[in-house]
């Protein structure tokens, strides 16, 4: 479904850019920095269990308290940032590779194969996302790898559609016809001009998909699949802490807030990117 939604472009959009765009970007940069510096910031080993200090509230020793197995919540949050971002980025990247790759291959092989292969992509898209990811993970097993692949497959259609939309839009343009008339290879022309346009569209899509990947991974962890117990993601922390919600609300609030902050920043950031790149562009339906 494609809806033509002209955005409000007036002069104000430009000046708001500096303030509104700065905050989400700053938060994201901060989170990435925390994720990278995690092993040095975390005061405790995230797997270290202090069996005598279960479900402790935040205090001077454990800044965010401990969880039901005596592990330091702050350390897990900070190390969890790594795995969460890894799974999110990995999933989005896998979706890009599967989707754009598969889509472009389908497109370059001609109209017939395009119809067939995109029919298959439609099929994947029609399947309820969580369900597909669930089945794939049960089939592939637990852990960061299988989850990333499952997320990649589930979200690949979005990238495929964007690739196709841009491809067709470019392919209809004059310079391609001109190249054809002059005997040049239209594919070459497309590649040269396609790439920059693609990048723009795909980055936007990635910004939309990243939070969805992270949330889907959280849901999967919550349902009992997803990352392994030794590699905490924020979603897994929510899943494990949900059983002790009364005894240790801090243990569940910390990762929930972290997820919310991440998804908020990403969506604002994605919004801004979209506005900067092409404010009048048709939004590819998703």
């Amino acid at each position: 479904m494609t809806l033509v939604m002209p955005a409000r472009t007036d002069g104000k959009a430009r000046t708001r850019f500096s303030v509104r765009a700065f905050l989400p970007a700053a938060i994201l940069v901060f989170m990435v920095a925390v994720a990278l510096a995690a092993p040095w910031i975390a005061p405790f080993d995230p797997l270290d269990q202090d069996l005598l200090a279960l479900n402790q509230p935040p205090g001077p020793e454990h800044w965010l308290g401990t969880d039901h197995i005596g592990r330091d919540v702050f350390s897990r949050l900070v190390m969890g940032a790594r795995t969460t971002l890894l799974v999110g980025l990995g999933g989005a990247f896998a979706a890009f590779v599967f989707g754009a790759g598969f889509g472009l291959v389908a497109l370059s092989l001609g109209r017939v194969s395009e119809a067939i292969l995109f029919g298959a992509i439609d099929l994947v898209r029609a399947m309820p996302g969580v369900l597909l990811a669930l089945l794939l993970i049960v089939a592939l097993g637990e852990g960061v790898g299988p989850v990333t692949i499952a997320l990649g497959i589930s979200f690949a259609p979005f990238f495929a559609y964007v690739a196709r939309a841009i491809y067709h839009r470019e392919a209809a343009k004059d310079y391609v016809t001109a190249a054809q008339l002059f005997g040049g290879d239209p594919l070459h022309v497309l590649r040269v001009h396609l790439a920059p346009n693609l990048i723009g569209g795909l980055v936007t899509q990635a910004a939309i998909l990243l939070p969805r990947c992270i949330v889907t991974e959280s849901v999967l962890s919550f349902l009992g699949l997803g990352s392994s117990p030794d590699a905490p993601t924020w979603g897994r922390m929510v899943a494990e802490a949900s059983r002790y919600i009364e005894l240790a609300p801090h243990a569940i609030l910390a990762p929930v807030l972290a997820i919310v902050l991440l998804t908020l920043s990403l969506s604002f950031f994605g919004d801004n990117v979209r506005r900067t790149l092409d404010p009048l562009r048709e939004e590819a339906g998703s």
């Binding site: 809806l3 939604m5 029919g119 099929l123 089939a139 349902l223 929510v238 997820i259 908020l264």
Partner: protein, 303 residues
């Protein structure tokens, strides 16, 4: 005429999609390691030969084509067979679970529409800053806050601390959560469409004529709002399926979502297949309806 032809063509394409989904799930479910006999073996300490006997009894050792053929043939006649885990007729299990999900999804959807239309129309009509902020807030809410997080926090607040709601079985909280989530997905585009419509010549003329804001709303805005909201809500409906699954698990609602999840965990193939068939058909119907609505609103889009 062309309209009907296009609609028919799309319906056909969607039915093939539904079939495709069923086949994929059939295969995926069997690729998944372990089957129902393994589960029973764990619980009941079955020996290897006993497991083999059970598999033959349940027909699990036949070639996949045969299994699929048998199942499809019976399904076409409305016979979904018996659950290999519980021995109960699958049709009955689906029939008990479906209304729960339909009620849940239906009420959430209605709530989403009412909220979205209410907020968007209100914001356009009154121009109040509160309502305009509400548009943004609800929109951001649905983007940033995962429904299961809200669900967990909601249980904490309303069931554990306040004791207002029972811990399991009550649909009130999940409907609210999914409803708000759905509203958030459509309220912003709806608001912008309406704002555009509000600046159109009809409305300006009506305003100039001195018609009350209420009459303008009812005669000009609402008729635009409702179809547009319905068209947008195709997205919401498709997302409802995933949303209801997590909510059903979290709140213990015995709907199609938990039926499917339990069936996947229990490797109960007949139940998985029947549930996914019903879901796929539901998706097809929903997609067909929304596309139809979409075409009726915007004839430009008819291919």
């Amino acid at each position: 005429m062309k309209f009907l032809a296009n609609a028919g063509f799309d319906l056909g394409r969607m039915l093939i999609q539904a079939l495709g989904i069923v086949v994929i799930v059939f295969l995926l479910a069997r690729v998944v390691p372990g089957d129902v006999v393994d589960l029973k073996a764990i619980e009941g300490d079955l020996s290897a030969s006993q497991q083999q006997e059970m598999r033959t009894e349940l027909g699990l050792d036949q070639p996949l084509i045969v299994q699929f053929g048998q199942w499809s043939w019976r399904a076409l006649h409305g016979d979904f067979g018996d659950s290999i885990r519980f021995g109960r007729p699958v049709g009955g299990m689906v029939r008990t679970a479906l209304p729960v999900t339909l009620v849940f999804a239906g009420l959430s959807f209605v709530l989403a529409l009412v909220l979205a239309i209410g907020i968007a129309v209100g914001a356009v009509m009154t121009g109040s800053r509160v309502l305009r902020s509400l548009v943004e807030i609800v929109n951001i809410w649905s983007i940033a806050l995962p429904t299961f997080c809200i669900g967990v926090v909601g249980i904490l607040i309303f069931s554990v601390w306040l004791h207002w709601l029972p811990v399991v079985g009550s649909m009130l909280l999940p409907i609210l959560i999914i409803g708000i989530d759905g509203a958030g997905q459509i309220v912003k585009p709806l608001y912008e469409e309406l704002r555009e419509a509000a600046t159109s010549t009809h409305v300006r003329t009506a305003h100039a004529k001195g018609l009350s804001p209420w009459r303008i709303t009812v005669r000009h805005l609402l008729p635009t709002a409702v179809p547009v909201a319905l068209a947008l809500s195709g997205l919401v409906l498709a997302g409802l399926i995933a949303g209801t699954l997590t909510m059903e698990v979290l709140f213990g609602l015995p709907g199609l979502g938990s039926l499917m999840l339990n069936a996947i965990q229990g490797r109960d193939y007949p139940v998985i297949q029947a549930a996914i068939l019903v879901t796929a058909i539901g998706l097809v119907v929903v997609n067909a309806l929304t596309d139809l609505l979409h075409r009726m609103i915007d004839p430009r889009l008819s291919r």
